[in-house]
């Protein structure tokens, strides 16, 4: 911005900010190590790999179930396994995870059973009843709203002198909501142990990332809050792990929150109700598949000599079998009693809900359950 002044020129954003981001990488698409690997034993590397494979299988099964009318609308994650597994793997059990609707793998890694996840998408609230020892919040459908919950939780932990950190997951689209802004600003002000994990998969349903914001990167949005921001190759599980791990440590050490932009891609539709051919080319999908996160880690493991093709085949088979069992268990779930609709509105059921429940029960006794033969 030039003014007529020669002595003084306004210092502007253009002077202060040079976009020097490039996604941090540790693995090439061919699985070669590009830097020093994070401190992970072979068993941990293989565990991450297993999670990624299982997530892929789960995803494919869920989409099939939906296509067959055995599951509701579903949001597939395939392509985003490294971003989710790498980040969740860096959490302590006592840390808290705040997912949006596509974080099946992250939630599973942090302890939510696959069955619970499937139950959720099967239109059953039991899928939001997290097991007592699992620090995963229920799915947040309204975009961005969970970000501030994560801040509140980690702020609360800090006020109580605890070390628990929180990670909030959201997409590139989620960065446009007011809740993103208010959440990151609070985190900066209270210097909370919060990690803001943006999976930038370059689309919000049909809207490309470039039309979501004029910022060159998502990571640079951290500048607005005086907090740290970083961009990482979201299909590189080692890089994702390293960056998240460090952000969590910084948070716990009182060095503040971090915004992580993990660049990745969803291979499938936004949800099973979406038709991605309306807004993106299949070549683009194919390009991304070359950088597949599972393939990349597998190559690394094979290169490293801790994995074999034979073991790999067996692993995929096992994963299929395990997810198959999950699906069986899902389909065997009984319908919940209608009391459940009323029972959890308040800790104690007030008169008006008791009246309404009675009305419904009388009605069902007389006319039958309108859900019979339906689910």
């Amino acid at each position: 911005m030039a003014t007529k002044s020669k002595l003084h020129k306004p210092k502007t954003v253009a002077d202060s900010f040079k976009n020097r981001f490039e996604p941090f990488k540790l693995l090439s698409p061919e699985g070669e190590l590009l830097g020093e690997a994070p401190e992970l034993g072979n068993e941990q590397l293989l565990t991450m790999y297993r999670w990624m494979v299982e997530a892929r299988i789960f995803d494919e099964r869920a989409v099939n179930l939906q296509r067959q009318g055995r599951l509701g609308t579903f949001a597939p994650l395939s392509g985003q396994e490294a971003a989710q597994v790498g980040s969740a793997f860096a959490l302590k059990k006592s840390d808290w995870l705040f997912p949006s609707y596509r974080e099946h793998a992250a939630c599973a890694v942090h302890g939510q059973p696959w069955l619970s996840i499937l139950t959720y998408w099967g239109g059953n609230e039991e899928g939001s009843r997290m097991p007592a020892d699992v620090n995963v919040f229920p799915v947040s459908i309204p975009i961005g709203t969970q970000i501030i919950h994560a801040v509140g939780m980690s702020w609360g932990a800090k006020l109580q002198g605890k070390q628990d950190a929180a990670i909030a997951y959201f997409g590139d689209g989620g960065t446009s909501e007011g809740d993103f802004h208010e959440g990151l600003n609070f985190a900066g002000v209270y210097n909370t142990a919060t990690v803001f994990f943006c999976q930038n998969n370059f689309y919000a349903i049909s809207l490309p990332r470039s039309a979501q914001t004029a910022a060159q990167s998502i990571a640079q949005k951290a500048v607005a809050y005086g907090i740290e921001g970083v961009q990482v190759d979201g299909n590189d599980v080692l890089a994702v792990y390293a960056v998240t791990q460090e952000a969590l440590e910084r948070g716990r050490a009182g060095q503040g929150p971090t915004l992580i932009e993990a660049q990745t891609y969803r291979y499938g539709p936004h949800t099973t109700a979406d038709d991605p051919t309306r807004y993106r080319k299949s070549e683009e999908v194919e390009e991304w598949k070359v950088r597949d996160p599972i393939l990349r880690l597998r190559r690394f493991l094979l290169n490293k000599g801790i994995w074999t093709e034979a073991k790999d085949e067996a692993l995929w088979e096992e994963a299929r079998a395990r997810i198959g069992k999950v699906v069986e268990a899902y389909e065997a779930l009984p319908q919940r009693p209608v009391e459940d609709i009323f029972k959890y509105v308040f800790a104690e059921m007030p008169w008006h809900l008791r009246e309404q429940l009675d009305e419904l029960k009388r009605f069902i006794a007389e006319y039958g359950d309108p859900n019979e033969g339906h689910h």
Partner: protein, 321 residues
């Protein structure tokens, strides 16, 4: 004349408006190339281009807030909120500004915008995709709230809403987006706001409803008729300001009233109908107005939503009460 579904009639209405008035702009999440997640704007991007049919960032407050600025400037914005469950994010802009801009500026500024929102339950959608939030906007002074129940009205009410000088919340009952087809004239026409439609006539009871409940109410009224109970069936169409006269006139005749809605019961449209009928037809009423409504809980996830939603049998039971 074309044989259209409700959602096609809406697309058609938008097309007419975009054609006849340069000031009309359609925008929202995924309304452009993608044609909207329900395809309500299908083809419009192609026909009218990126200055008339515009994708927005993911930001409901931004969508409505920008529409307010545009409307005050003289345009006729038709923003879309993708689902009922995300409308609360625009609540403050609706309440603090859209609803009262004319009032506070003593008419110097106004807010002629139509906010379209796919709305209601019954399509097996995920959480937060099944709400019927009309009561919040009924209670808010300065807003008009419209819910069509059939393709013909959908187009006519939409065009009336776009013509209206004040902000209109246009709730589209997604459950019946594709339920039926009707003959819909190709040319623009207007179905006036604030006028109810009487769909069946009878002397025994008045049934008041709107939107996706209408087909169910209609079938319940037919079954009641077979049982010898004849009902006036009133589709209010404009939920507010209400055609109260149509209702009180009918109740004066029938002496009984049933109001049917998807939304939770407390402090709702139904409550207001009870209150108005009670105030205005006290002497005519032979028994209490019956509220057939959703329960005072969130809409259950899809496996149990049918337990929650009023259905034919529950409406019939209300009529027989």
């Amino acid at each position: 004349m074309a044989h259209l579904t409700l959602i096609q009639a809406i697309t058609d209405g938008l097309r007419c408006a975009l054609r006849q008035d340069e000031r009309v702009v359609v925008f929202g999440e995924d309304v452009g190339e993608n044609g909207g997640v329900f395809r309500a704007t299908d083809g419009l991007f192609k026909e009218f281009g990126r200055r008339r049919v515009i994708d927005t960032p993911l930001s409901e407050g931004g969508i409505l807030g920008a529409a307010i600025g545009m409307a005050a400037y003289g345009l006729r914005p038709i923003p879309e909120i993708q689902f009922d469950g995300f409308l609360p994010m625009a609540f403050d802009q609706m309440l603090s500004h859209a609803s009262r801009l004319r009032w506070r500026s003593r008419g110097r500024f106004s807010c002629p915008l139509v906010l379209r929102v796919p709305y209601g339950a019954g399509i097996h959608a995920p959480e937060h995709h099944s709400d019927s939030p009309e009561a919040y906007y009924l209670h808010t002074p300065g807003l008009k709230v419209v819910v069509p129940s059939n393709p013909y009205d959908a187009k006519g009410l939409l065009l009336a809403a776009i013509d209206d000088p004040d902000p209109v919340l246009f709730f589209e009952p997604k459950r019946i987006y594709r339920a039926i087809r009707q003959e819909v004239p190709a040319q623009p026409y207007v179905t006036p706001l604030g006028k109810a439609q009487v769909l069946a006539q009878g002397n025994d009871v008045t049934v008041v409803s709107f939107g996706s409940m209408m087909p169910l109410a209609k079938r319940a009224v037919e079954r009641a008729s077979a049982l010898g109970i004849k009902a006036d069936l009133i589709d209010v169409r404009t939920v507010w300001p209400l055609d109260v006269e149509a209702i009180t006139r009918s109740v004066a005749k029938t002496g009984r009233c049933v109001v049917v809605q998807e939304a939770p019961r407390t402090a709702s449209f139904g409550s207001e109908i009870v209150a108005l009928v009670h105030e205005k037809a006290f002497d005519a009423l032979r028994s209490p107005v019956v509220r057939v409504a959703g329960f005072d809980t969130a809409v259950p996830y899809y496996r149990m939503e049918n337990d929650y939603l009023p259905n034919e049998a529950r409406i019939l039971a209300g009529i027989q009460k």
